[in-house]
Symmetry: C2
């Protein structure tokens, strides 16, 4: 046998072992449940991955509700696409801006409260399969909403309701309550080299 043929045989045998192990693993996973998903950490992609999940769910005809707790210049790109599917997705930017822009704590708290009530309404709506509370962690971090109240609503959701919460500094109790938690770490960021936020990339 040639060296190449030997290598291919070894590869095939190894892949057969991996395939069998993966099949066993997949077969052991039979449960279904609505997931509480958290995207946190200082890196990019927390909201973007949540919006990507919205697109995935919409592609299956599942209805999605998105509430943004912090409205920046973000997501104008996504919004244009979501607007093409009004039956599948509601998209509500309910924040008024970053806390350093409003400079009004009482107003920020009232805004957070209104956004949270919309999230709670979406979670209670049996037609909505996936609820995204974008940047909820930020307002929790500032204590603009009582964490206990938020956790009570999240954990009392219907069995098949999926909820995604984004934002850096997820509270430990939320991580504890969640089914799936991903931390986005910034290995390298172009802002450090003087590159500005660019259309289609950052917003």
């Amino acid at each position: 046998m040639t060296d190449e043929a030997t290598r291919n045989d070894r590869h095939r045998a190894k892949m057969q072992r991996i395939q069998a192990a993966r099949r066993d693993m997949m077969e052991s996973r039979t449960g279904e449940k609505g997931l509480l998903i958290v995207h946190t950490g200082p890196g990019k992609g927390k909201s973007t991955a949540a919006f990507g999940m919205a697109v995935r769910a919409m592609g299956h005809g599942m209805k999605v509700g998105i509430v943004q707790f912090v409205k920046g210049a973000m997501a104008t790109g996504e919004r244009a696409i979501f607007d093409a599917f009004p039956d599948l997705v509601s998209f509500r930017p309910m924040g008024e801006g970053f806390t350093w822009d409003t400079q009004d704590r009482a107003r920020d708290i009232a805004t957070a409260r209104a956004a949270w009530e919309e999230v709670a309404r979406l979670i209670a709506d049996p037609d909505i399969a996936l609820v995204i509370a974008d940047e909820l962690n930020i307002v929790l971090r500032y204590d603009y909403l009582p964490l206990d109240e938020v956790l009570a609503v999240l954990t009392a959701r219907a069995p098949m309701k999926h909820v995604v919460v984004t934002g850096r500094n997820a509270p430990p109790a939320l991580v504890e309550a969640a089914d799936l938690v991903t931390e986005m770490a910034a290995v390298k960021h172009p802002f450090r080299s003087g590159i500005k936020a660019q259309e289609g990339i950052e917003f």
Copy 2:
């Protein structure tokens, strides 16, 4: 002054300082360039965030080309949405399956080569603003493509061309060449509790 009024004043003063610091920081960032972006790490959201970036760019009327190096059951949801925008996005699942499913190294290499040539074609196409090489890191990890050749094409791209490469185990030389690198870390994963991949969430 009441305690609450004092607290609000302190909040406002602090937020004014943060706002000024952020304005200085933003004004120092004036550069524009096509970014080489890498989503790596063992956590979720690498491909999902890349597809979310596709949606964002499409929302600005930018054209996007997506090539998948590993075709699994993934992204059927996204595909249904992308199919609604044929002028804005091309979506090519060129992989044949996981390496443990094909069990044929020579065929995997030929598949990787064909997918890479499609990526190189998209990068060379001046109409395409954003190219996503989904799971390219996987085939680089298996040495199915020469890393030098891949890096040469990526770094010689046109100045405003954005490229996103996904997949765990990004080669260090790719991280070195990239402008923006995010590592997705798995803090908690529901597979560990016997939950299977679910429609609208995993695929």
